[in-house]
């Protein structure tokens, strides 16, 4: 009997999700009436009987009816116990009534789990993602013999977890159980493209005609689903809808969400010198709910640092935190807020590199043109954390650029190829280059040299502007280099006399930092790899031997020293910047001799990184927030990825805006349980009602038998 029960469980009962599976063992009690009947057959009394002929006559006449009645009563009693046992086990699912009565064609289920970061939101003690997994499990429970499954993860990039449709429901369940949510957003168009590909492949391979059902288990977060309105998504949905039906199985919050995210942490001063105060601006944003305060803790290299309780006023609040670090080298700074609806955006980690001093290399295109620049770095001739090395351009090749935080090219018109490559590699690894020109500029050679160093659509050198009276026009002081001059009219920025300059046309990959009053730019900036460049169309140095007319009075104007320092601050090497990214962005590691290396992600999984076209190793698989380690032999480089707080917004996409072919009415999955309270079918009530009916019927039948026998 127990084996029979196990067989039943494995076949029919296992198709149904039960709230209280152990209660199914009470099904054994259904056999009790039959057992009692069998036992009673072995226990009877004996007696002599004279009127045997009448007894036999009665038996022959009524034996069949009596046997039927007896079995009927036994079956009813067994059924009664079985129904009560089923009711106690609390079944949570009932096949669609249409599917009970009619055999439907086999279905290819394309299950799409929303694995975006918003699915980290907690829903009744479990994350939305876990709830989505359960829903997917229940859809598999609903499936019938002959159905096939594919499994996808909606993330950025989206993933196909099971591409070839499989009949093995257990395999799919296992895949669902093991899949991890990503900390990225979701790329809906790519997801639909993948689904389309799998569906086409499935149709090509499968001989049997199947209905395709695409089922999204999602929270319908607007950050992901707003993209459904894009032409590409609309086109793909329309194409899929010709062969498939769409269904949204939504997981949503019952309770009010309450979420505050750490959206940014910015260093106030990028120099990061030892014994100087390190100030950090932390930005918190209220994503949902009515939080009034959050406690913020700082961990420095894993050790507890300063703490603060930050009042949340308005939507976004910025808070300054001072760090006290006295050790040169790399440090991991981790910020933590109290856990709330979405825990993953309550953490933010990054690295900083603390230096004992800054080292600047000045390469002189002509002798002594860098002297004034050197003076600008240390005007008081005091003990300064800035160490300046000034060398002629011909000694460039002898320099080890990685020892310097920034390289200034003073009045340089041309570079050798090898020198250009050295600068390009230096910037790619995070170094900063500031290039100035002067009256002796050779435009064709300059253009050629520039393109060796900086790739992309950056600057086009047009020629020297005609002599005239020009002034700087800082505009809105938007660029960080200029922000220090905002509200400082005595700095001389707007009064600096300028007579000539190199006219440059900026491309898409260049930013104009500072313009002149004729509308042309005079300082431009951009990025190469992890480094930054600044190009100045004026000389920031002065040669004594030149007989040419001066291009400007910048070097003697009050603006010179501060603008040189601000430029250095912006451009200098940020070893930490390249290793703190938003999830989804590539991580760049230093250029190594090796062609490949191994990256260990926050989950401890290893990935091989191969050097591509770029000089440095780039890892573009940052799908989880946390620390990534590049391991080369015994050496190790650390990098951090943080979630994009914008992706953790909890606004629900308006389903009215979904294409009409995407159903949310649950026509073929209306029994999917979204929460305990709203959609679960009270099947146990029907079972108890059936038990009561059986009880009445059994009582009536027994009474009828007794009455007729007495």
């Amino acid at each position: 009997m127990p084996s029979l029960v196990l067989q039943i469980q494995s076949s029919v009962l296992a198709q149904i999700p039960w709230a209280n599976t152990p209660m199914l063992w009470w099904l054994l009690a259904a056999g009790l009436p039959f057992l009692i009947h069998l036992l009673s057959r072995t226990r009877f009394q004996e007696t002599d009987w004279a009127a045997m002929r009448f007894l036999e006559a009665a038996w022959k006449r009524h034996a069949r009816r009596l046997a039927i009645e007896q079995w009927l009563v036994m079956v009813m009693r067994g059924l009664l116990l079985a129904v009560v046992a089923l009711a106690l086990a609390d079944p949570r699912w009932l096949f669609n009534s249409q599917e009970i009565g009619h055999k439907r064609p086999p279905v290819h289920w394309m299950l799409v789990l929303d694995g975006t970061v918003s699915m980290d939101a907690m829903l009744l003690g479990e994350s939305r993602f876990e709830a989505a997994k359960k829903l997917a499990d229940q859809v598999i429970d609903l499936a019938a013999e002959g159905d096939t499954y594919s499994l996808f993860l909606l993330s950025d990039p989206p993933l196909v977890l099971i591409d070839e449709p499989t009949f093995e429901a257990d395999l799919v369940r296992e895949a669902i159980r093991n899949v991890r949510r990503r900390d990225t957003g979701g790329h809906l168009a790519s997801m639909l493209e993948l689904i389309q590909g799998v569906q086409l492949d499935a149709q090509r391979v499968d001989d049997e005609r199947r209905e395709t059902r695409i089922c999204f288990f999602t929270d319908l977060a607007s950050t992901t689903w707003a993209n459904i309105e894009s032409p590409e998504c609309q086109r793909r949905v329309a194409a899929l809808a010709t062969e498939a039906t769409f269904q949204i199985c939504e997981v949503s919050d019952v309770a009010e969400p309450n979420d505050v995210a750490i959206v940014a942490a910015r260093l106030r001063d990028e120099r990061l010198l030892i014994d100087e105060k390190i100030s950090l601006d932390v930005t918190l944003r209220k994503m949902a709910g009515n939080a009034t305060a959050r406690r913020l803790r700082v961990l420095i290299d894993g050790e507890a640092g300063p703490e603060a309780t930050i009042a949340i006023v308005g939507t976004e609040v910025r808070h300054r935190i001072d760090l006290d670090i006295h050790q040169v080298g790399e440090h991991v700074i981790e910020l933590r807020c109290d856990d709330d609806t979405i825990p993953v955006n309550d953490r933010f980690a990054f690295q900083i590199t603390l230096r004992d001093r800054l080292r600047v290399l000045i390469l002189e295109g002509r002798p002594q043109v860098g002297a004034r620049l050197e003076l600008a770095f240390d005007p008081d001739r005091q003990q300064n954390p800035l160490v300046v090395t000034r060398v002629p351009l011909r000694e460039f090749r002898n320099q080890k650029l990685s020892d310097f935080d920034a390289v200034f090219l003073a009045d340089v018109s041309s570079l050798e190829t090898i020198e250009g490559r050295m600068l390009a590699d230096y910037m790619d690894a995070g170094g900063g280059v500031v290039w100035t020109v002067g009256p002796n500029v050779d435009i064709p050679r300059l253009q050629e040299s520039w393109q060796q160093v900086v790739t992309g659509d950056t600057l086009q050198f047009e020629g020297v502007a005609p002599r005239g009276q020009y002034r700087f026009d800082a505009g809105e002081y938007l660029h960080p280099i200029l922000s220090a001059f905002a509200g400082q009219p005595r700095s001389g920025l707007s009064t600096t006399p300028i007579y000539q300059y190199l006219r440059v046309s900026p491309g898409d990959d260049a930013t104009t930092v500072l313009s002149l009053n004729d509308g042309n730019g005079t300082i431009f900036s951009g990025a190469v790899g992890a480094g930054r460049w600044v190009f100045v169309t004026l000389p920031w140095g002065e040669a004594r031997d030149t007989g040419k007319e001066r291009w400007s009075e910048v070097t003697v104007w009050p603006v010179f020293v501060p603008i040189v320092h601000e430029t250095l601050d912006w451009a200098m090497r940020r070893t930490h910047a390249q290793r703190t990214v938003t999830v989804g962005e590539p991580l760049r590691f230093p250029k190594l001799d090796r062609a490949s290396a191994e990256v260990i992600d926050p989950l401890g999984e290893r990935h091989v990184v191969v050097r591509g076209a770029e000089a440095s190793l780039v890892f573009d698989g940052t799908t989880f927030a946390g620390a990534y380690r590049l391991v080369v032999g015994e050496a190790e480089w650390l990098a951090h990825a943080n979630v994009d707080a914008a992706e953790t917004r909890l606004e629900r996409y308006d389903t009215e805006l979904l294409p009409k072919v995407i159903r949310t009415d649950g026509e073929w999955a209306e029994d999917v349980v979204i929460s305990e309270s709203n959609t679960r079918l009270p099947l146990y009530r029907f079972l108890f009602a059936t038990a009561l009916l059986l009880l009445c019927a059994e009582s009536w039948l027994t009474h009828r038998r007794r009455a007729s026998n007495d």
Binding site: S40, R41, R43, F44, Q45, E46, T47, D48, W49, A50, A51, M52, R53, F54, L55, E56, A57, A58, W59, R61, H62, L66, E69, Q70, R705, R706, S708, N709, D710
Partner: protein, 298 residues
């Protein structure tokens, strides 16, 4: 409400040891009670002379009495005035049945009935004989009014308990064939036999101008079928076994039994045979009274 047991109750009588004692107790006890009701005798025709009424055959007038008393009396002959009574008792195996709530078996009840009736008939100076049968007549005691016959009857009744198969119909036929003088034939049996066979025998008896009385003795269990637990019934007279749930079969069995007794009753009515259904838990005095009152009213 259950009746308080009297000294005629079978359960009480069963405690008396010996058939003689039981029969005497019944007969004497009954006769003592009968004095209170003189009309409740065995025969209302017990008289040697009776007054003449117009229409009587004048050949039977007793002229001597007329000469002495100047009254007309009819003279009755000895043979004609004495009652001849044959008591035929079924001694087949089925008569040995005794239900769970009965004081005695059907055979024991029949023994007592037979002995008591013999006693009563003899006390009224009538002739009585006895037949014991199963599938055929086994014992035959010719009717006589001598008191010796009582001992013979008792001896015959005290023969070992019945173990043979009963064929009542055939036995009645044999009785009808063998009986020489007409009289009253009282057959005491459960009559578990084919009704047509019984009818045939009774018709034959009636054809011999015998007055026939049937006492059908049935155990209360045979009528009520009071069993409540699954039971295996072993059929007497080699009728096999049957395992049934009595509760579910009770109504059907009762119906079969009722149908049989009704058929027997109808058969008796058809042949002008007196029929009495006697439960073996019925006190003997009641049974005798029921019988004698019906005879008086007939």
């Amino acid at each position: 409400m259950e009746r308080a047991p009297t000294s005629f109750d079978p359960r009480v009588l069963a405690k008396l040891d010996g058939l003689r004692l039981r029969a005497r107790h019944i007969a004497e006890g009954y006769l003592v009670g009968a004095h209170r009701n003189p009309r409740a005798g065995f025969s209302t025709e017990f008289a040697e002379h009776r007054e003449y009424v117009p229409g009587d055959d004048l050949r039977y007038l007793d002229w001597k009495v007329f000469g002495r008393s100047d009254k007309f009396y009819l003279k009755r002959f000895e043979d004609e005035t004495n009652l001849l009574c044959y008591l035929a008792v079924d001694s087949s195996e089925s008569m040995a049945f005794q239900g769970p709530n009965s004081g005695m078996s059907k055979w024991e009840y029949a023994q007592c009935m037979t002995a008591a009736l013999t006693w009563v008939v003899l006390r009224q100076q009538d002739a009585v004989g006895m037949l014991r049968f199963d599938d055929r007549v086994r014992h035959w005691i010719e009717a006589t009014n001598r008191s010796l016959v009582l001992e013979q009857v008792l001896d015959a009744l005290e023969q070992p308990s019945p173990t043979t198969k009963g064929l009542v119909g055939r036995a009645i036929n044999e009785i009808a064939r063998r009986i020489e003088r007409r009289g009253v034939v009282i057959i005491i049996s459960d009559f578990f036999d084919d009704i047509d066979e019984i009818r045939s025998g009774l018709r034959r008896l009636r054809h011999r101008h015998c007055e026939v009385v049937l006492f059908q003795l049935l155990d209360p269990a045979e009528l009520d079928f009071p069993f409540d637990v699954p039971t295996r019934f072993r059929g007497l007279e080699g009728l096999g076994t049957l395992r049934v749930n009595p509760v579910s079969l009770r109504a059907a069995y009762r119906q079969e039994m009722n149908q049989f007794t009704q058929q027997l009753d109808a058969c008796c009515r058809e042949l002008s045979v007196e029929y009495l259904l006697v439960r073996t838990d019925e006190p003997f005095d009641q049974t005798l009274r029921r019988f004698l009152v019906r005879r008086r009213d007939a």
